[in-house]
């Protein structure tokens, strides 16, 4: 009891304001609101609902991929193959649809998740059982999966007129005023949230990423946790592959090329620790939305699109440095409380 009362009186946790600022998600949310307001003042059309919807549409696929990335990074890994997985699965289902337009969409959805999950499982098994460092493994499969797109397509595109109307409309049909793409994104986010926060398997990802040895001592299998994370990341990448080619009505060899780094960026901006063991779904949502808004805002306020890459790099750097500094402050506060208690 004495310890608790001491903690209450220790300076750092004193005010409500401090506690709110300590939540990194709240800080990011405030930054996003300020950003939207600033861009809105400069270009009022940025605040129109149509514009917001288009930002949402653009951001959903990034958000979904980043949720998979979150699961892998939580286990102290990284998945650089997501964009190639997306491109391969997208091409595979698009070609299937081209050759057999009669196959119902639900089968293609199942197939995309399955193909993506298998590609993810290959990463996961090699990392967890073969002990290949995740960055090397997924660096390798990034070019392997990308090359496989070329192998199955022979370098050709699948374009809009070769797709069935159901396939083209899959990501676009409207339900309760929002396109299906957004609903699928919301559903995925909810499911990943439930998995990471309310299932044993999800909590194990945090445990393994935080301290693999300790997790092993309490009976958590790091092997299984890592494979799970990569399978989840792969399954989401596969599903987004279908959504991507449906939304843009074209499957190409260089679909989403370079997108893997955007997912890492969104995760890092959302406060996910690249060392593993720490990161949240709300954080990732805000990180992805932040990147999406920055990209859209640049075009709206008339900044040349060539600025986009440099600004994105700058934002990533600021985010990781800010996260590290915030972590250090929290650490310091923890140890101070430890002393006072």
């Amino acid at each position: 009891m004495e310890g608790i009362s001491n903690m209450k009186h220790s300076g750092f946790q004193g005010t409500l304001l401090h506690r709110i600022i300590a939540r990194r998600e709240i800080t990011l949310l405030v930054i996003i609101v300020l950003l939207v307001a600033a861009v809105g003042i400069r270009a009022p059309r940025f605040l129109q609902p149509g514009r917001q919807l288009s930002i949402l549409n653009d951001t959903i696929i990034l958000l979904m991929l980043t949720l998979g990335q979150l699961a892998v990074i939580l286990t102290a890994g990284i998945d650089l193959s997501v964009a190639s997985n997306l491109a391969f699965t997208g091409m595979a289902v698009a070609m299937w649809n081209m050759m057999m337009p009669g196959v119902p969409m639900i089968v293609l959805v199942g197939a995309s998740i399955l193909i993506g999950a298998s590609l993810g499982a290959f990463n996961g098994v090699m990392v967890a059982v073969g002990k290949v460092p995740p960055i090397i493994m997924t660096l390798g499969t990034m070019s392997v999966y990308r090359g496989m797109v070329f192998l199955i397509s022979g370098g050709a595109w699948v374009s809009a007129h070769q797709m069935s109307p159901a396939f083209r409309g899959f990501a676009r049909f409207s339900f309760l005023g929002l396109p299906s793409l957004v609903w699928i994104g919301v559903l995925t986010t909810g499911l990943v949230y439930l998995f990471l926060n309310h299932t044993k398997g999800g909590r194990e990802l945090y445990a393994v990423g935080d301290n693999e040895t300790a997790a092993g001592f309490v009976g958590v299998s790091a092997t299984r946790a890592k494979i799970k994370a990569f399978v989840l990341s792969g399954a989401i990448a596969g599903l987004t592959g279908l959504l991507w080619v449906s939304r843009y009505a074209s499957a190409q060899n260089d679909t989403a090329i370079g997108f893997e780094l955007e997912t890492v960026a969104a995760a890092v901006i959302g406060g996910v620790s690249i060392m593993g063991g720490s990161g949240s779904v709300p954080g990732v949502v805000l990180g992805a939305v932040f990147l999406g808004i920055v990209k859209n805002a640049l075009t709206v306020i008339g900044v040349s699109p060539f600025w986009q890459m440099a600004i994105q790099g700058g934002v990533i750097l600021i985010a990781i440095v800010a996260n590290t500094l915030m972590d250090r402050r929290n650490q310091a506060r923890l140890s101070m409380n430890g002393v006072s208690a």
Partner: protein, 340 residues
């Protein structure tokens, strides 16, 4: 260790596998084109991969100390852009070269400052600076290219040494490889790099200036990237913001395929040299028969993953073979002991 044990140990080393791979690539290429083995072809093929080969040398040291630099290709694009701006401003060739080297050095130093000052993992930082450096090149150039470099500049990236057929980039690479090899394997500094890579905390407690060494290596990596930009620009005599795209991954592949542990503390210059020429000639041979670059990507991707799995398997195999052989003398010595 007996002579035979040492033979086993040498033979099942990863470098030996690379030698076999290299010989295999040569046999493959010779069967593809009877002219491949002519000296002029062997030498001319190196022009295409020397910039990446040179980048592999400082990257090897960075990975040995347990760090990584994903921003090298972005640094090359930015250095080449700055070099082009200097040219447009009327600078002479030496000044252009200095501008490229300086840009690379600054880029490397910025990496070092962020990684070491804020204690952020280098993979995260250099993913950020990768976008930043190439992004600045895009901001400056947009979709434009810089051309009109003086013809004399080609003497570096396209030239030969004196009156021989020996390419200048290859000569530079060999000189640099000797320097890096001597530093890594024959100097106190090289031993320090291994020590840092094996256990940075222990190295720090032993009084090694770990951060200073790491900062120097990041800066060196940037400087060499600036130099690679000079070679590349002088070879293609133009600059676009998208030059050297995805080279960071190719350079890391070269180093890791050469047997350098991505976790640090292990690796040799011989392995890296072998992997540089194996991959270089493999790409050259496959492009001779018009294998698309995506398929070459599959092969190098699988090689990269294999490069991690196989050395471990080989180590286990070689240890088992040594143990098998050790059993015999042990039994012998026991027999003599009981006899006595």
């Amino acid at each position: 260790m007996s002579v035979s044990q040492r033979l086993v140990k040498t033979f099942v080393r990863w470098e030996a596998v690379l030698v076999v791979l290299l010989v295999g690539v040569f046999i493959l290429n010779t069967s593809l084109s009877p002219f491949f083995l002519r000296r002029v072809n062997l030498l001319n093929a190196t022009y295409n991969f020397m910039e990446r080969a040179i980048m592999a040398l400082p990257m090897m040291l960075i990975i040995i100390v347990g760090e990584i630099d994903i921003s090298v290709a972005g640094t090359i694009a930015l250095s080449s852009t700055m070099m082009g701006l200097a040219m447009q401003a009327g600078a002479s060739i030496p000044v252009m070269v200095m501008v490229a080297l300086g840009t690379g050095l600054l880029a490397g130093m910025l990496n070092a400052v962020i990684v070491l000052r804020f204690r952020v993992p280098s993979i995260a930082v250099t993913i950020g600076t990768m976008s930043l450096y190439r992004g600045i090149a895009y901001v400056i150039l947009g979709n434009q290219a810089i051309t009109g470099y003086p013809r004399e500049l080609a003497a570096v990236g396209q030239g030969v040494v004196g009156n021989t057929m020996f390419p200048v980039p290859l000569a530079i690479f060999i000189v640099l490889a000797v320097v890096f090899g001597v530093v890594l394997h024959r100097s106190r500094l090289g031993r320090c790099f291994y020590a840092i890579g094996n256990n940075a905390t222990a190295a720090r407690f032993s009084g090694l200036p770990v951060d200073r060494y790491k900062a120097a290596l990041f800066s060196l990596n940037g400087l060499v990237a600036g130099f690679a930009a000079v070679l590349l620009t002088s070879r293609i005599l133009s600059t676009r913001p998208n030059i050297a795209t995805a080279w960071e991954l190719e350079v890391v592949t070269l180093v890791v395929l050469g047997g350098v542990a991505i976790t640090g503390g292990k690796g040799s210059i011989y392995g890296v040299l072998l992997s540089v020429f194996t991959i270089g000639y493999l790409r050259f041979g496959l492009s001779l028969i018009n294998v698309p670059s995506q398929v070459i990507g599959i092969i190098t991707g699988l090689l990269l993953v294999g490069a991690i799995i196989l050395p471990g398997l080989f180590e286990k195999l070689s240890n088992r073979m040594i143990i098998d052989r050790q059993l015999i003398p042990e039994i012998d010595s026991e027999a003599t002991a009981t006899d006595a």
